[in-house]
């Protein structure tokens, strides 16, 4: 693999290989010495044009556990915010000898532009671009589901027959998109539940069932996984729904809806959560919730991705 830009073009076998490598990486996380020498001498740049302490930290830990050198290059307080172009930034990083670039950007497609540009010959990992994709989040979500469902026998398995319900602001969610493509590839069945204002135009042509009524959808589908999406602050005043109170009542995972779930259903959230809005505290902290596991699994997945992109002969990978 040369770059990881999206889950849409990720083949099933490549996805499963990444999940399996992440299993190995997660075992390393349980050892006393949590570090591997694999990427010694490699330089990974975290190029964050958008604030995200959680994702940046996760990539940083992953790179460091593989013994790579990590440089954090964030927009705040750097030349990037002073109007330096992506091109100049990329060429600067290339001159510094970056082997891998982990990029978070508010513009959809920026990682692909960087990967295709010829400005830099580094492996590019999309750490979230606009409302396009967030592939490592989808991979860690799939990893989390696979572990909960298959336990120690997870290696080599896909998610055939697993029913996943993704609830909330699908329109603006790169997490929902990346999850949909990956889950579809892995054989899962996906349902989006959202008010019609937050369903992307044309999503009816995607491999997904679209529902508006959360209670009816939960009762009929009885999903294995319920994934709640974050409602961004800036959406709250943009007429996508009348009030947060109404949203929480219609589409929030509250205590009643939590109790109505199958006891073996799992509850996921990519974080950070708005407790009391899209998810109640009881749901977030229940035994069914995987919120904390998702964070731990994020490091394993990102180690697997960095290993796949940056170890090995670059010629052979391209």
């Amino acid at each position: 693999m040369r770059h990881l830009l999206s889950t849409r073009d990720l083949l099933r076998d490549d996805a499963i290989a990444l999940l399996d490598i992440a299993e190995d990486m997660s075992e390393v996380q349980n050892r006393e010495v949590k570090k591997l020498p694999t990427l010694r001498g490699k330089t990974v740049v975290n190029l964050f044009f958008e604030d995200s302490t959680r994702t940046r930290t996760s990539f940083e830990v992953a790179a460091k556990r593989l013994s790579a050198d990590v440089i954090n290059f964030s927009a705040k307080g750097s030349s990037v915010s002073k109007g330096e172009s992506l091109k100049d930034t990329a060429q600067t990083l290339a001159a510094m000898g970056a082997d891998g670039v982990v990029i978070r950007h508010s513009a959809s497609g920026a990682p692909q532009v960087l990967a295709q540009s010829g400005w830099i010959d580094a492996g590019v990992v999309n750490a979230g671009d606009g409302t396009h994709e967030h592939p490592t989040q989808a991979l860690l979500d799939a990893f989390t589901m696979r572990r909960r469902i298959h336990g120690d026998a997870a290696r080599g398995r896909d998610l055939e027959g697993v029913s996943v319900m993704i609830v909330g602001d699908v329109l603006h969610s790169r997490v929902a998109r990346s999850n949909l493509w990956l889950l579809e590839t892995l054989g899962a069945h996906v349902t989006f539940v959202a008010p019609a204002t937050l369903v992307p135009v044309g999503a009816s042509t995607w491999p997904v069932d679209i529902r508006y009524d959360l209670d009816a959808a939960l009762a009929e589908v009885r999903p294995d996984v319920v994934m709640m999406l974050r409602i961004q602050q800036e959406r709250m005043n943009a007429a996508f729904f009348p009030t947060t109170r109404e949203y929480a009542r219609q589409w929030g995972l509250d205590d009643e809806r939590l109790l109505a779930l199958r006891p073996d259903s799992i509850v996921m959230h990519p974080g950070p959560m708005n407790r009391g809005l899209e998810i109640s505290s009881r749901a977030a902290d229940s035994a069914q919730s995987t919120v904390i596991e998702q964070v731990a699994n994020g490091v394993s997945i990102r180690m697997a991705v960095l290993y796949s992109l940056l170890s090995g002969d670059r010629e052979a990978r391209s």
Binding site: M1, A17, D20, I21, D24, E27, R31, E32, V33, K35, L36, P37, T38, L66, R155, Y307, S308, S311, G312, D313, A316, R317
Partner: protein
């Protein structure tokens, strides 16, 4: 043309001898851990473990594990990305134990160097020993095997093929002129 240097029965005899030698040098099965290096080293480790339990019924049931060294190799950048394999340490861990590493062929010694580093990250054994089915020479590091099935002087343009029933469906060690890169 491949030339067969060890047949089925030769391999069996070699492994039986190694099993005895391991027990002898360890003065019994206590605090012993057998770690095979994937892929064929794991098969050999399981066979040796089974023989040791046969010879010494008191040997611990969870004696054999596997040790993947992919993440510790020094030649990662010279090959396409390798898929790592499973590492599994017996439940008793390796601290204070005698770890016997098992591999099929000992050549440059670089795999064993990687294995020693990997072991170092897993714990602190009392001692680490090395058993191999074939030692073909051409060491590039100061490493030697403690237990050897067969010493097989070879030239670097020859290729040693180890076939084991569990993986390859047949059982033999042969030698031929290398067609591609060596093992």
């Amino acid at each position: 043309m491949a030339r067969i240097v060890l047949q089925n029965s030769d391999i069996a005899r070699a492994l039986t001898r190694i099993s005895h030698e391991v027990l002898e040098s360890n003065r019994g099965p206590h605090d012993l851990v057998i770690l095979g290096i994937p892929t064929r080293g794991v098969v050999l480790a399981e066979r040796i473990g089974a023989q040791i339990r046969q010879i010494e019924p008191g040997a611990p049931a969870d004696l054999v594990g596997s040790l993947d060294v992919t993440m510790y190799r020094d030649d990662l950048a010279h090959h396409p990305t390798r898929a790592p394999q499973r590492t599994r340490v017996p439940s008793g861990g390796i601290d204070g134990k005698t770890v016997v590493l098992i591999d099929d062929v000992l050549y440059s010694g670089r795999t064993i160097r990687a294995a020693l580093d990997a072991i170092g990250d897993l714990g602190r054994p009392r001692a680490v020993r090395l058993a191999v089915l074939v030692d073909r020479g051409h060491r590039e590091l100061p490493i030697r095997a403690d237990f050897v099935g067969k010493n097989l002087p070879s030239s670097t343009d020859e290729r040693i093929n180890v076939r084991l029933a569990e993986i390859d469906g047949s059982e033999e060690v042969s030698i031929d002129l290398a067609t591609g890169a060596g093992a």
